[in-house]
Every structure is written in structure tokens, then in C-alpha cells.
Amino acid sequence: MAFMRKQAVIEAIDLNTITPEDAEKRIIAGVKKYASNETNYASADANTPYLGHIVGMGIESSNLADITMSIERQFLTKMTAKVPVSANSNEFKFAPGELGKLRILDGQDALAATPGLSVKMLMDLGHMPRHETYLESVMSFAYVMACGDGWKMADALKKMAAKTEKFAGTERTDAVANLRTLAAQAKEYDATLADAAKLAASKAKSYANDKAGYDALNVELSLTLDKIKGLSAGGDAAALAKIRGEEAEIRTRLKMSSAKLRVSQEISDAAGKRRAIEDKKVSSVRAALQEAVSLAEKIS
């Protein structure tokens, strides 16, 4: 079957023979065809988000799986031996084996929002050696998201300020009132970014929701197991089969919920920790927010 993407011939390279910087370059080169923001793509580095148009490469979500598959096509790894996650489990993970094709399993790429985070993912999964100096230059997923929100707010405020200047009369009065609200939101977010603990608290809400959902699902599972226990004595095979089906479904959901919880926990934890790279990026977003606020205040 001739797929269009197979027109490009890619020579895969062993991840253990290259530096993280080389891996990053190859990853960036591999997503070129999906990037719709050429300017941002041209200056892309470890911390340029794949998605988004303001500071991101402008890749659309419909090509997210293509990013992961592009990474898989470009690299070889020794983590190729399939081993069960636990005894009696259908799921598997990779352990050291023969050099072969890189495979990224479902959910493993959940935090790989930038080329640097993709390289970090490869290190975390054991496909390449950990390189702490390189990782120092990679912004955490939590801050990629937090900064992304800041850039969007600053952009929206600047655009609204420019638009408001063109209005007159009651339209201007209304627009100025809205502009003040936007400016107040931007100020509040600037204050949140300034305080790592405050940012962590804001991310903790999402984690709390996921945790509540995970706990509720565990209760649901235990109730289903109770139902199975109750039905087992009765000999109603059809009802028992139905409940066993429910149990399997809840276990699948629980697995997904657990993966989701790990991601939100990581975001919540990372939001409270700020290294030099995060400080630098936060400073530039805050400067953009403050500039937009001052522009809005001049108009209003």
C-alpha cells in the first residue's frame, strides 16, 4: 500500500549513538511538513511547542499522532523486548533487547509537547541515556502549558486594545469596559505566574478532579466485585457474564484514569518547581502580559 508519507526516505539511527541535541534536531526536522507557522518553526528549539500559533509551530491536533510516529521512524533503540507489565497482565512494556525499531506506547507521549520534552520522554523510557545538563534546558510540561496560556492572554489583550481604539461613542464605552476586565484578568495571571506556589495551587484543582474521579471509579469497581460475589452464589450465568463485562470495562477505565492521574499529578508537582529555564520563559511571558496591560490602561 503506498502511503503518501512513505515518499520520504528516513534512515533510522540508534538513539544511543547520538547526543540529545542531535535527537532534538532530528525531531524538529521530522515535523517540518506539519508546521503551519513557518516563522516559529524556523527558530524552533527544545522548548517550542508543537501546537499553537503564537509561539508554537502551528501543528494541528490532527497531526499529533504523526509527530510520535515521525519520532518512531527516525530512531532505533535497544528497548525492544516485550515483557508483561505484571504477572497475568495482557499489557506489556519494553525491556532491553536487540537493537530495533523504536515504539512509543499509548499514553507515553502525553507530556511530549515540545521537541525537548520528546527527548526527555525518550530518556525517561530508557531509549537513550539521561543527560542532566540537556534536561536543565528543557522546560517542564506544566510550564509549557502555563506560559502558553499567558501568551494567549497577552495576545488577546493587545488585539482587543488595538480594536478598541477604532471604536467611538457607546461602542467604545462598552469596549473599554470589556478591555478593563481583560486587563484585570491579565494582571491576575501575571501575579499567578510570579508565584510558583499560586500556580501550583491553580493546577492542583485539575489534579483534585482527576483524583476524585479515580477514587470514584475504584469504589465502582469494588461494588461490581461485590455484585459478582453476590451473583456467583445464585447460578445466574447470564447476569454474571454481564457483570463480568462491566468489571472488564471498569478496569479499562481505571487504567486510563490512572494514566490521566499520573499526568495531572506531574503537572501539579512541576508547577510548584521553578528552575532557571522556567524562570526565563516566565519572565518573557510576564513582560508580554505587563506590556499588554499597560497598553490597555492607556486606552481605558
Binding site: M4, H53, D149, E171, N178, T181
Partner: protein, 469 residues
């Protein structure tokens, strides 16, 4: 099917025993709710009770308790919230409950199961069997109905969930009424409805019980059962659902959570990047790539549609998942980028499920065009619409003019569209778009509006939607 003398004897005995033990049972319910689950009733609960009981005291006849349904312990919570201990001398007013047999009557080993059955007996329960279309299940349901009618004719109260099960979206949808309570009210015309909307502050999805330690807020009212001249169960049920829906809106007015949760997504099918994992004639696709997006069920459905529909059906799945992703985001349920398989779409039933939470969303494709797909998704806040009923979500799909940035275009499109949809706004100059919290929202009269604005663009197309409920 009339109740046999044995049935009546058993019901009378259950009533006598439950009356005699109503104090310890009610105390146990209150203590468990307060100290085991650490729930708190809202500060205004005494006012709610006073209003309700003032109306109930004026009505000496039977009462049908009707409440929204989200957790497995709702009956206990509603009873705890509405029925104060000081009213226990009027034990005939304690409602008969109607729990689902398969959920409660065979739980755990023989001892545990027996204890639960005893508790349910003392809580005056009439087991219901909601599933099953066979004659035995039908007969069970009819008998349960007759028992409820008997309890009402005796001047008592019956507690039935009008939705006939826990709401999978976390939202009571008044446009999908069930007839059971209408039938019951017509069967015993002297009945009144006691409508209750109860929900804990952090109750997002359907779960076994509300989050531990949560505050529980209650809205309640007493309304007419069957009115003179009403003969159609649907009309009676519709009136009940409409009242519950209004109470639901009242509850959400003071909630920290966003009420309206909708989203939309557009896909330009002519975009070359959408085709690269398909063969040139679009009848085959890279299976690994498909499996990264679709669940097993979705893949089965896709293969059933045949090779000629492969490309379009795959993108229908994708479009629906993206719309759901945005709707879920409003409920602070973040679907990680690329976690496409967390959302399972049923294109035939026009439903989607967020698998980790079990939340169910309605989906709807609009503007079907050979070149583009556009999908709406609604989790809560309003009706998605169908061939007969208008939607509470409005949408617009437009072509992005050449040379214009799609991101900027879709934002202007949304503001113009919202302004044109509301006479009071008139001009988009009176609106602003904020991105606070990472999600777009419209500011009008300097206040961010809970309209669940959703923006999307793909290739030559841009689309927006917002909710008007």
C-alpha cells in the same frame, strides 16, 4: 396485574416494621452521611425544609418524591436533606424507595447481602428491575408500579427517579422525559410531586457517591401531580421534568463549575496532511496510525463501513473526539493532547463517552459537506438539538478568506456571530474574547459569560459555537 393478598400483606408488614424502626434507621442514615462521608448540608437547608414542609402540610394526600440522580446513595441523601428527624412521628410520610434490584440486592457474600437486604427492607424499598424486555421483567416492573400505586392510595409517599437511572452526562435533560411518573400520577390523581434537585459542589460525573467531605446543596419544591383534564402521561412527566430543569438551573447559578459545556470542531477534508496515512485512493489506511486514534469498538465500526467510507468515517470519529475534548475541558476534565482513545465515539447512537470518568456526551454533525466535517458536542447545559427540537447550541462554519490568519478570523467570526444572534448585543464591538484559563470566553458588559464558546479551524474552514441555554 393486581397485587395479590399475599403482596398486600407483605407490604403492610414492611410498612409497620419500617415505621417502628424509623428512628434508628433515620439516625443511622444521618450519622453515616455526616460522620462517615463527612457531607455537609448547605446553610440554607432549614429554609428549604420549611418551604417544602409548609406546602406538604397543606396537602394531606399522597406525595411522589422525584429527584435528579447522579450517585448510588442519592435516595439516602435526599431523605437526609428533606426529612428532618423531628417529623418522624409522621412515619407514614417517609417515602417508599425504588432501588434497582441488580445494583443493591445481590451485593457481596451471603451475610453482607442479607444485611443490605435487611437495611433496604427497613428503608421501605420496593426493588425495581429497569433492564430486560422479557415477559418476566415486564411483569416485575408492572408489579413494582402497582406497589407504588398502592402506597400512594394509602396516602403515603413514593420516591422514584424520573430519569429512570443515573444521568451519564451529569445533567438532567428535560427534552427526554420518561413516562413512568406521569403514569403513576395519573393512576393516583390526588398525588403531588415533591421535586428535589440535590448535588454536591464537586459532583462532576456520575459516581457511586459524592466526593467525601463535600457540601450538598438542595433545591426543592412541591408541584401538582396530574392536573384536571390531563390524560397523557407524557404531558404530566414533561411538566415535572420542566420543573426539575428550572431547579437545576437555579442550583447551577451559584456553582463554581461552568454550567455550559459544549464544543465544536471543523475538519477540512481536502487538507493534504489529512490524507498522508491513507492510500492514494483513500480506501486503505495505516493500521498502526488508526489504532493510535481509535478504540477497539471504533475500529470495528470503521471496518464495517467499507473501504469507500474509510477516510470520511475516520475523520468523523476524529472530529467528534475533538469537539468532545473541548466540551470536557469546560468541566475541568483535561483530555491530554494525543489521548484520542480516552474518548470513545458511537457515531450510530450519536454519543461519546469519556472513558476515565464515564461521562457521556451528545454529538451532532452539522453542515455535512463533501469537503468538510463539522461536529458539535454537548456535555451539559442544554440540548444538542435534533430534527424536531432546536438546539441550545448555535454554530457557524465559514471559509477563511485567502491571506487571513485563521486564528484571528475564527475569533472575529465568533464575536460577529454571537452579536448577530442576540438583539440586546447588536454589535460585536460590545464583546471581547478572553483566553483566561486557557479556554476562550466572551466578555459582555465587562463580565465573562458562561456561553461555552468554542473555536476551531482547519485548512480553508473556520467554525465556532456557543451555548444559549
Amino acid at each position: 396485574m393486581a397485587l395479590t393478598p399475599e403482596d398486600l400483606k407483605a407490604l403492610r408488614l414492611q410498612k409497620r416494621i419500617s415505621c417502628a424502626l424509623s428512628l434508628p434507621v433515620s439516625l443511622m442514615v444521618a450519622l453515616l452521611a455526616r460522620f462517615y462521608f463527612r457531607y455537609r448540608l448547605d446553610a440554607d437547608i432549614e429554609q428549604v425544609r420549611a418551604r417544602v414542609w409548609e406546602k406538604l402540610d397543606r396537602h394531606e394526600g399522597p406525595v411522589i418524591w422525584a429527584a435528579n440522580h447522579l450517585t448510588l446513595i442519592d435516595s439516602f441523601l435526599v431523605y437526609w436533606a428533606i426529612f428532618p428527624l423531628r417529623r418522624l412521628h409522621q412515619a407514614h410520610r417517609i417515602p417508599w424507595s425504588t432501588p434497582e434490584y441488580t445494583n443493591y440486592y445481590k451485593l457481596g457474600g451471603p451475610l453482607r447481602s442479607a444485611l443490605i437486604r435487611l437495611l433496604l427492607y427497613l428503608c421501605r424499598c420496593i426493588p425495581f428491575l429497569r433492564g430486560g424486555e422479557d415477559a418476566a421483567s415486564e411483569a416485575w416492573r408492572q408489579k413494582a408500579f402497582d406497589k407504588c400505586a398502592w402506597a400512594l392510595r394509602e396516602g403515603g409517599a413514593v420516591f422514584v427517579y424520573p430519569e429512570a437511572g443515573r444521568s451519564r452526562s451529569g445533567w438532567l435533560e428535560p427534552r427526554r422525559p420518561k413516562d413512568f411518573l406521569g403514569r403513576l400520577a395519573l393512576e393516583v390523581p390526588s398525588s403531588k410531586f415533591l421535586c428535589v434537585y440535590l448535588r454536591s459542589d464537586g459532583q462532576i460525573a456520575t459516581t457511586s457517591c459524592p466526593p467525601t467531605g463535600d457540601r450538598i446543596r438542595v433545591i426543592a419544591d412541591v408541584i401538582d401531580g396530574a392536573r384536571p383534564g390531563e390524560t397523557n402521561p407524557r404531558d404530566v412527566s414533561q411538566r415535572l421534568f420542566d420543573r426539575l430543569a428550572l431547579m437545576q438551573l437555579e442550583w447551577w447559578k451559584t456553582s463554581d463549575m461552568a454550567r455550559n459545556c459544549g464544543g465544536n470542531d471543523v475538519i477540512d477534508l481536502a487538507s493534504p496532511l489529512l490524507r498522508e496515512n491513507f492510500s492514494e485512493d483513500l480506501t486503505q489506511a495505516d493500521e498502526d496510525w488508526l489504532a493510535r486514534h481509535l478504540t477497539h469498538r471504533e475500529l470495528e465500526y470503521l471496518s464495517e463501513q467499507g473501504p469507500d467510507n474509510l477516510f470520511r468515517v475516520f475523520w468523523r470519529f476524529f472530529c467528534a473526539k475533538e469537539a468532545c475534548h473541548k466540551a470536557l475541558g469546560r468541566a475541568i476534565i483535561v483530555v491530554a493532547n494525543g489521548a484520542f482513545r480516552e474518548i470513545e465515539v458511537d457515531l450510530f447512537k450519536r454519543k461519546a463517552i469519556h472513558l476515565p470518568t464515564g461521562l457521556q456526551l451528545d454529538i451532532r454533525f452539522t453542515d455535512d459537506d463533501p469537503d468538510a466535517l463539522h461536529c458539535l458536542a454537548v456535555l451539559r447545559g442544554g440540548f444538542i438539538g435534533d430534527d424536531e427540537t432546536e438546539a441550545d447550541i448555535l454554530w457557524k462554519v465559514a471559509r477563511v478568506p485567502p491571506g487571513v490568519a485563521p486564528g484571528a478570523f475564527v475569533r472575529e467570526l465568533a464575536l460577529d456571530f454571537i452579536a448577530s444572534s442576540n438583539d440586546e448585543i447588536g454589535s460585536s464591538a460590545r464583546l471581547a474574547l478572553t483566553e483566561a484559563g486557557g479556554l476562550p470566553a466572551v466578555i459582555w458588559r465587562s463580565i465573562p459569560q458562561d456561553w461555552s464558546v468554542s473555536l476551531s479551524h482547519s485548512g480553508r474552514y473556520a467554525a465556532c459555537s456557543f451555548m444559549i441555554a
